[in-house]
Symmetry: C2
Subunit: 436 residues, 2 copies
Amino acid sequence: MKPIHVGLLGIGTVGGGTYAVLQRNAEEITRRAGRPIQISIVADKDCERIRQITGGSCRMTDDAFAVVSDPEVDIIVELIGGYGIARELVLQAIANGKHVVTANKALLARHGNEIFAAAQEQGVMVAFEAAVAGGIPIIKALREGLTANRIEWIAGIINGTTNFILSGMRDKGLSFATVLQEAQRLGYAEADPTFDVEGVDAAHKLSIMSAIAFGNSMSFEQAHIEGISQLDPADIRYAEQLGYRIKLLGITKRTLEGVELRVHPTLIPAKRLIANVEGAMNAVLVKGDAVGATLYYGKGAGAEPTASAVIADLVDVTRMHTADPEHRVPHLAFQPDAMVDLAILPISEVVSSYYLRLRVEDRPGVLADVTRILADDGISIVAMIQREPGEGEEQTDIIMLTHKTVERNIDAAIAGIEALPAVKGRIIRLRLEELL
Amino acid sequence: MKPIHVGLLGIGTVGGGTYAVLQRNAEEITRRAGRPIQISIVADKDCERIRQITGGSCRMTDDAFAVVSDPEVDIIVELIGGYGIARELVLQAIANGKHVVTANKALLARHGNEIFAAAQEQGVMVAFEAAVAGGIPIIKALREGLTANRIEWIAGIINGTTNFILSGMRDKGLSFATVLQEAQRLGYAEADPTFDVEGVDAAHKLSIMSAIAFGNSMSFEQAHIEGISQLDPADIRYAEQLGYRIKLLGITKRTLEGVELRVHPTLIPAKRLIANVEGAMNAVLVKGDAVGATLYYGKGAGAEPTASAVIADLVDVTRMHTADPEHRVPHLAFQPDAMVDLAILPISEVVSSYYLRLRVEDRPGVLADVTRILADDGISIVAMIQREPGEGEEQTDIIMLTHKTVERNIDAAIAGIEALPAVKGRIIRLRLEELL
């Protein structure tokens, strides 16, 4: 059977993994796909790297644009990353009638609406399983596995770097900065970790899942994003005492008022399966109205786990590339003419439970003042602990968990409480989700 | 857009759920599928039940054979169960050129080879996501999400009844019989629970997953099956002391010697995510060479979770029913001409670690005799605990965990140890898997 021809753009970690797995499992993949999947040409600015990895078994170039115009190539695999040159290449490939497989979450989160419209227009597929949660087939689950459901919400640990750091902070009681250094030494964090630790990478992935879940256009720009760099190990300990773990979650939820789209450190009950996802692992919890909660867990990054997703897409595209477009799964799960424009809620309109930590003078009446302000803003308290002040200490910590309330009420209450003379410094506020 | 017409066979729990979800989420499902999915005719021996559920909104009959021959029907949903009349109906539907969606694991495990061959011959699809692990899209993950991988093994909690009972036995220290009664009272176990508690239902599902994972023909008849009815709460406690939980796992593994296909109570490390799957929930752990371990978790039974899988299949079939068969995903993941006939290993040839519990006279020298026999059979011990005998008690329990060994060695050692005069009664033997 005639092979399908793939042009690979970028042969770094994931590109090298994709090449290696396609070689190693060629026989098994062909038995599934019905025909061989062959990397015919590779573009990388480092031709020596191409030679080392491929052993000169395919054509090579340092000009990625030559690949997207190559008449022999059926499918482009874009593994360059970023949204500059990658965007141009993907759009050019589509214009040339090539199908595209990409792992580029930043590109899709920022330019997905443009890219999917172009692909629709040209009748080509843009597949992106590798863009979210590495080797976990979560895009397939959302697009195809849960089509019966009205999806209510998704909550995911979708950034391995931050989960590795949070696991380290909890296990060893160390600060963010210390564990970050260890993560960098072990290769779990990049030299400039900003995109990961500040939640931007998670927000890219979350935006893609949200669009698929709700048939909404890609809305990364409206996402609320908080990272973990400001997280204090003390809050991890207090949360633990209250039966919760802190994870950096990407949460998207459909409400009557609009769609929530937010990434932030979140308290979740320690007994939930997802609370026990440790180290660099990823997991996504999806709540559908018919199926209930389902969880998908695995490696969210790395050469071969990501290659696993890239190649799964290659098999899908190989199967469908001569099929009528109407037989294909729509890019964002819903038929293009059935997509909607749901508003993304500002964070002040989000409803959540809250964890509050206050530093207060250790004297009678303070708690009464604090709880009065909360009550005036309609906020009820579910649990409270007060740290026993040390010998001679005049201040102590109060930690409270609240019932659900809209965020603007908490903002108002926090402003009121911080104005009390007995309350010292800023109040620490974290969101809490029961994930039921 | 013209609806696709579905004929529903059986409107019990899952059939009723399927009808309800298709009605409730009609708009959203149509937006995904590109056209309405309409139940046009329902067959059930209880026409009053059809009338109650559908409100007379579609045609009804007590003759299922009339439905599979109905010229208006495009897709048959078979929810009758069993492998008598259901087999005839499915084969007749295929012969009539209808696509089939079924939740019937027993039918596929026993007659899958015949059914898929017939479907291939007729160019129709037989979809069966609902046959394994209810609403969890595990068939899709195995058939499509992990196509890059050489799958090494699968280990699944794929029977909710037994997992509910095991959770109850562990939580409350109660006997199998007591918790079974509670499960029956709550509707988690049937009046005749044999198929569930003896592992047959899990073996049906395991056989299906094994065929898809390895491109092997369906081999249910060669599966090794042990249930949980003989499990003693004492062993759950001892396992816990050693850091393990006992779960009824379906395990299939590809080895150089052949394919393992076995269902039995299994010790697994308590810290694994899958060890913390409680109650009636299901979870499947899949190890691929590229992706590593991925886990899929959710409700494995119930009206709407199972309906979620049935309808996902209906959407897939709706999308593909006019497509060329070559564009479709092969029934068992591999192209029909690329299926193989791998031998299923007899249990005596399976390699595993073991948990052994011996009742022995509490006197010096016994342990030396026992360990000598194990050593002679090439079995090394990883951990051991000996119960402190009570006041005046002359016997005690020894619990040992072994390194990996082939089962026939353990059989030989057990026979030798049971022949020792100081060893009383039968030795309890359970298998142990690290799941790494």
